[in-house]
Symmetry: C2
Subunit: 474 residues, 2 copies
């Protein structure tokens, strides 16, 4: 199948690539998806990296049930207001109608803070630093594979602290873990910032986010970290005796990254030939394609096998595509679509010259390497691909970040989906809403650092005390 | 809290230990549980081991949604008959009543084989060797933490094959992986066997099982592997063209191990002081308890920290319990209850003698070791604990495996919950049912190998063509 070009129809290109790279497919129940082995292996590598980082930063994993009695969910007012239109509800089980319906978790603050009430009595019980890997359900009106699915997989951290300061530090610590993961593991450059009030997580005092720019000029929220203040502690009555014997409500944070980030990975690096994967998460880092003609058992095949074993021994994830039912050209396209970072071609001429041909997926360039040096060359090349994908994406992001001088230019850039638009903002929701109505763009985030020399809000002309990034978003 | 004695009230002992070892607790929705960090870390180690073995045997992970449209579940008659009384049903989502109710997966054969229909066309598409880690829901009338919970965690493998022979080999291969995991990782000796027809998985041609004997004389099914024949391929219309161009239904297997096995771990090794954990899955393999009196910053504390760092550097999971709010005796009890394999005591006298006192959790024995040799001694001791727990449990199992001569003794042993009872069995369900009615015991499994010299069925006196293990069971 030929992929739709990005420039012709980006949404269709996205659908094509998810299918052609064998990442996922829609399942039977509306909005759900099967994550196929090739896509799931990418997720496993993201999981492993994040799980290590979550543990290094002092957290432990645990597991809370996915069923939340609906009365328990109802306790935090803005939380339930935000989530109730999206929940799935179990009304029957074991052949009977349930006395109280069970909500399938859209997120776990309710059940976790309902439980923390039992776990926290004294300041000595704090902090609680816990995380879980789980599936959650949010009913989506316009589902899209990875980006918005009714059920998705994620990790959700939920911590409880003695002071507001500690909770804020925790929130920012995990934001930084997410930023580092996006950039170093996935090669996705992100802007780490705060959400405006209207875009906050329901029940949060402050929501922090990492925002990435996709190749169609839209932004994607790739991870969030929330400072929940004492809102959940008050709703669920989680108090502790502080060192002075005073009863105090605990301070909460929560933070999550989901399978959605795979959508971000696709739309950050993918091109008209298909996926481009950073070596750190690629199921195969290199694929060997022997050019054997009809002699499938000959010298080329033998050398290809030897090479595969050498690379594998060095810990490189390598696949030898020796399927004799398809031609090299077909294989080139197939593995390009799947984003394998390096293709190693080995034909009779290569063998004669005691060399191989190397094609980097991130560049339109072929090189040769001596057979005796392939392992060394490939190892180095993988490092190069990893860093150059981030570099290229960063350059793209910077080229598509605009700082217009007036509202007219701002509105045009946003309507045209030209990328990120950076402006000062007065902080008034009225201006935010006006932009949204006129351009369909929203504030993706505000800068982390306070603004020292405010410029003018381009919408209303008042003092722009915040610096904000605007864009249309997924 | 003092633990109930096993001999006084085994079920209460079990509840006490789950609580005191901080493994899990009941949650809000009926029959659900929170797996607490200490319990979850044991599960993570089981997961990691099993996941490695599943991949080594050629499988890949993927993920299917948990919602199954009820019509899809209904297609395999005996499957739906077996599971329909246990399912939870989502009837409302996104604020509306659903047109078709969604069943929360009790197991995933239905959705997976519904999907395999799209993935399989030719014999070249086979085998499919896939596994997923997931939560599943089965409504339990009498829930018990880990053993029977409404929601539990597991892995479920689902494979598709070209021939009956391949499917049978796969079924037995994974049974062997489970046997090895139970014995080598968890120190749980098991009997690997076949289920009788009445105990088979709904929709299976043959169910294989690993059965373990608990310390109260009851058996626990710790993992199952099913040869599903062509039943699901026929129900979901999964056919392929074989090498001769003939349309054929694929052959299926499925196999699973769940968080239930943690219940088996507790009841295999636990004693009146609490849990006893095999070092391979223990969150902490050793705990250091400094005996410091009031001098919490003195020489003992310093040496304890140094020792902790030395052990950690060697990859031993060690915890230094330097909490100055509780006394050594309290700490001894606490870590005994939590089953830490080795306790290292370090007091002023030990320090003077340049030694430590080592207490093995699996034996009522203290030894001393020179400070300079602690790392070496502890490393070796951990190996000893790992093998001796399996050895002790095997001896217990063998001592509690009986081969009665007549039905009267058989019935008494079973009614008394005396352990496993091994007899010949004619293969008739009537005999199986009679034993069940009179003793509440069931056939746990039949031997894998066919019986060469049949004895008499103790129930009816006819030819006992099967050798069977009977017991009351969890």
């Amino acid at each position: 199948m030929k992929l739709t070009k990005q420039s012709d129809d980006f949404p269709q290109w996205y659908q094509d690539i998810v299918k052609e790279a064998d990442l996922a497919e829609p399942s039977f129940a509306r909005g759900t998806m099967v994550i196929k082995p090739y896509g799931y292996e990418i997720w496993e590598r993201i999981q492993r990296h994040l799980d290590d980082r979550i543990k290094e930063t002092g957290h432990k994993n645990l597991y809370f049930p996915m069923f939340i009695p609906s009365k328990l969910l109802d306790k935090e007012a803005s939380h339930i207001e935000g989530f109730s239109p999206e929940v799935a509800v179990v009304t029957h089980a074991g052949g009977n109608k349930l006395e109280e319906p069970l909500v399938v978790r859209p997120t776990s603050e309710a059940i976790i803070w309902g439980t923390y009430a039992k776990w926290v009595q004294s300041y000595r019980d704090l902090p609680l630093l816990y995380n879980q890997w789980a599936n959650v359900v949010r009913w989506e009106m316009r589902p899209r594979l990875f980006l918005r699915t009714t059920e998705f997989l994620w990790q959700e951290g939920h911590t409880a602290h003695q002071t507001a300061k500690e909770a804020r530090e925790e929130t920012l610590r995990m934001l930084e873990v997410y930023r580092e993961t996006a950039e170093q593991l996935l090669g996705i450059p992100v802007i780490a910032g705060r959400k405006s009030e209207s875009e906050r997580f329901p029940g949060a005092d402050e929501t922090y986010t990492i925002e990435a720019l996709m190749r169609d000029g839209k932004a994607l929220q790739a991870g969030t970290s929330h400072d929940l203040g004492q809102n959940f502690a008050k709703a669920y009555n989680v108090t502790f005796l502080d060192p002075d014997g005073k009863e105090t409500h605990a301070y909460a944070t929560s933070w999550g990254v989901s399978t959605r980030i795979i959508g971000g990975l696709i739309m950050t690096h993918g091109d008209d030939q298909g996926l481009r994967l950073p070596p750190s998460v690629a199921p195969y880092q290199a694929v060997i394609i022997p050019i054997v003609g009809d002699d499938t058992q000959g010298a080329v095949a033998k050398e290809a096998t030897k090479l595969r074993d050498q690379l594998a021994e060095e810990g490189i994830r390598v696949f030898l595509d020796d399927d004799d039912q398809s031609r090299p050209g077909f294989k080139f396209n197939k593995w390009e679509a799947r984003g394998v970072p390096i293709r190693i071609e080995l034909g009779p001429k290569d063998l004669e010259a005691k060399s191989v041909t190397l094609a980097r997926r991130d560049q339109d360039k072929k090189t040769t390497a001596k057979l005796s040096e392939v392992v060394k060359t490939v190892t180095k090349m993988l490092d190069d691909v990893q860093s150059s994908l981030l570099k290229d994406a960063t350059a793209f992001r910077d080229e598509h970040t605009h700082q217009p001088k007036d509202y007219e230019s701002m509105a045009k850039l946003l309507s045209d989906q030209a990328g990120l638009v950076k402006t000062y903002w007065c902080g008034e929701e009225a201006c935010e809403q006006k932009v949204k109505q006129e351009t369909k763009a929203t504030i993706r985030c505000l800068t982390l650092e306070p603004v020292k020399n405010p410029g003018k809000c381009l919408v209303c002309g008042k003092v722009g005390k915040e610096q904000s990034y605007w864009a249309k978003a997924y």
